[in-house]
């Protein structure tokens, strides 16, 4: 039915985007693939290049160099074909607040060429009306489909948008920071909802977020840092590349310890205690070099959170 290449729905190859009059590339040689049915999270701080990458994939921005394919179609040269294959959830809700939920759904269906336009819901094809009823049942808002969307909560609006975007059966659902502006409860709720949508519809999901914990359920993640890929793979693979060991030491005579570390050119960071960023197999060798009596010796393992924060904090 849909062309897919080695099970890859999205293929990005050395993608570069430089905005007009900008000194740096907003996206600077990014590579990644998304597999069929995969849940893929694109992580990074604000300004890391997430939205730029997503905008190239949803055809609203053209790349400066490199290429991006969706179901084998080039996003620049075959934009129309790409648009049929993607469902897009923008950072700002793409709903008209003064129109009813059903009207928002109807306009979407017509824009995607699924149904002919009829000015009233009851004149729309039976097939369409059944889908709207299913959609309302999933959302639990059967009565409210005729209400203006402005009466809906933030979480409900997002869910409506997601269901609406499934109408044209996209190969990949692209969500740009879908949880922005939601409280923690609605955020968790939306998350399990997206998981359910993915399971039942079989579509791939690409989403951006700057919260690491939101990406933990993803099959694979890609962390962007200043337009470049800082880490890419499954959570376990990323842990291997980003997480490292360190040694925490302290002495009663800190002045002496500081002098000794400097004299022996052992790099350290001081935040209360002395932190030495060294490999596991170096611990013994380093400890033997130190003469100052130590009061604390603790080998430590940095968490993924620490590693991610180290990348993100550079932006502040």
């Amino acid at each position: 039915m849909h062309p897919s290449r080695n099970g890859k729905v999205v293929e990005i190859d050395q993608l570069v985007k430089r905005y007009k009059n900008a000194d740096n590339n907003a996206v600077d040689g990014v590579d990644f693939d998304i597999l069929e049915g995969e849940f893929f999270a694109l992580l990074g701080a604000n300004g890391a290049g997430k939205t730029t990458t997503i905008s190239i994939l949803n055809t609203t921005l053209t790349p400066t160099a490199g290429r991006a394919l969706i179901s084998g179609h080039d996003v620049t040269r075959e934009a129309a074909a790409v648009r049929e294959q993607i469902g897009v959830i923008f950072q700002n809700p793409s709903l008209d607040l003064n129109l009813t939920a059903e009207e928002n759904v109807r306009f979407h269906a017509v824009l995607y060429g699924l149904y002919p336009f009829r000015p009233s819901f009851s004149w729309m094809p039976v097939d369409y009306r059944r889908k709207v009823k299913d959609l309302a049942a999933i959302l639990g808002i059967s009565e409210a489909m005729g209400q203006p969307v402005k009466t809906f909560s933030g979480g409900m609006k997002r869910k409506l948008e997601i269901l609406r975007s499934l109408l044209h059966n996209p190969r990949v659902l692209i969500l740009d920071e879908p949880t922005t502006g939601l409280d923690p409860g609605s955020r968790r709720n939306l998350w399990s909802y997206i998981a359910r949508v993915r399971e039942e519809s079989g579509t791939s999901v690409l989403l951006t977020t700057h919260y690491l914990e939101e990406a933990e359920g993803a099959d694979r993640i890609c962390i962007l840092d200043r337009g470049k890929v800082a880490a890419y793979g499954t959570i376990d693979e990323i842990k291997k590349t980003l997480i490292h060991h360190y040694l925490l030491i302290d002495a009663a005579d800190r002045q002496a310890l500081r002098a000794e570390l400097e004299e022996k050119r052992i790099p350290y960071r001081e935040d209360g205690r002395f932190r030495l960023d060294i490999r596991e197999d170096e611990i013994h060798r380093i400890l033997r070099q130190i003469q100052t009596p130590l009061t604390v010796v603790r080998p430590r393992l940095a968490s993924l959170e620490d590693a991610y924060l180290a990348i993100v904090e550079k932006y502040d």
Binding site: T59, L99, Y112, D134, L163, L166
Partner: protein, 275 residues
Amino acid sequence: MIEQIASPPIERVGRLSHQVNAVLIIALRDVLKFVRDRPRLLSTFIFPFIFILVLGGTFDASLGQAMGYSYITFVFTGVLAQTTFESTVIGMIYLLEDRENDFSQEMFVSPISRYAIIGGKIAGEAGVAFLQGFVILIFGWLIGVSLTWMQVLLILPVLLISSLFGGGLGLLMLSNFSSRRAATQIFPFFILPQYFLAGVFTPLIGVSEYLRWASYIAPMRYPVDLLRGIFYAGLPEREQVVILEPLANLGLIAVFFVIFLVAGTIIFVRKETNR
């Protein structure tokens, strides 16, 4: 159940009919949004009403006497054309900002032709402008502007022409600005002189040579003059108010509209494929 929502429709819409339907809903959406937004409805009528009642009313006593015809009626006919024209221009420019908000975002990622976006947007904004013109027409009748049924029948199509003409100019402006902020900063300098060069509030007849020439490049002048040519047909003050024959205005509007539309479309589509 989610699977069923994503299932293909029983009968898909044909290719051409898809694009036509898209134009239709983009246009209808603009009109629906306008009609359902009460604060916006109110604010769009305040200015025309102020112009006609306050400006027209205060000047009628002094200027009207000197001119020998109703100044309120003169301003009413000018504002009718000006509002319809300007409303569509502004509506088109708003797309610069709208494309990052609400449902407008969907238009740009959906599989419809960029020409359908242009067509739907012009039709929709012209529809909104036409509705405004219609309400101002009723308002004019309520405050005592004498209108025959024949005049009303002829003015309605002129309102539509004026609205569509604004859409052509709006498209050209939209495709030449990168941001809404830039557009709204330039807009007053662009539109305010036209109020006078188009003779919305003051008759153009008898102005100096250079102003007369400047008025030719003010696009708003043509719908204003066309509307007055229709309204004042057969009335004694026609000679003092109308500059060109309606057919001449109509021809010039058609020429400018095609130029605006073609240039605007070319630039818009080129920009859309290379953002």
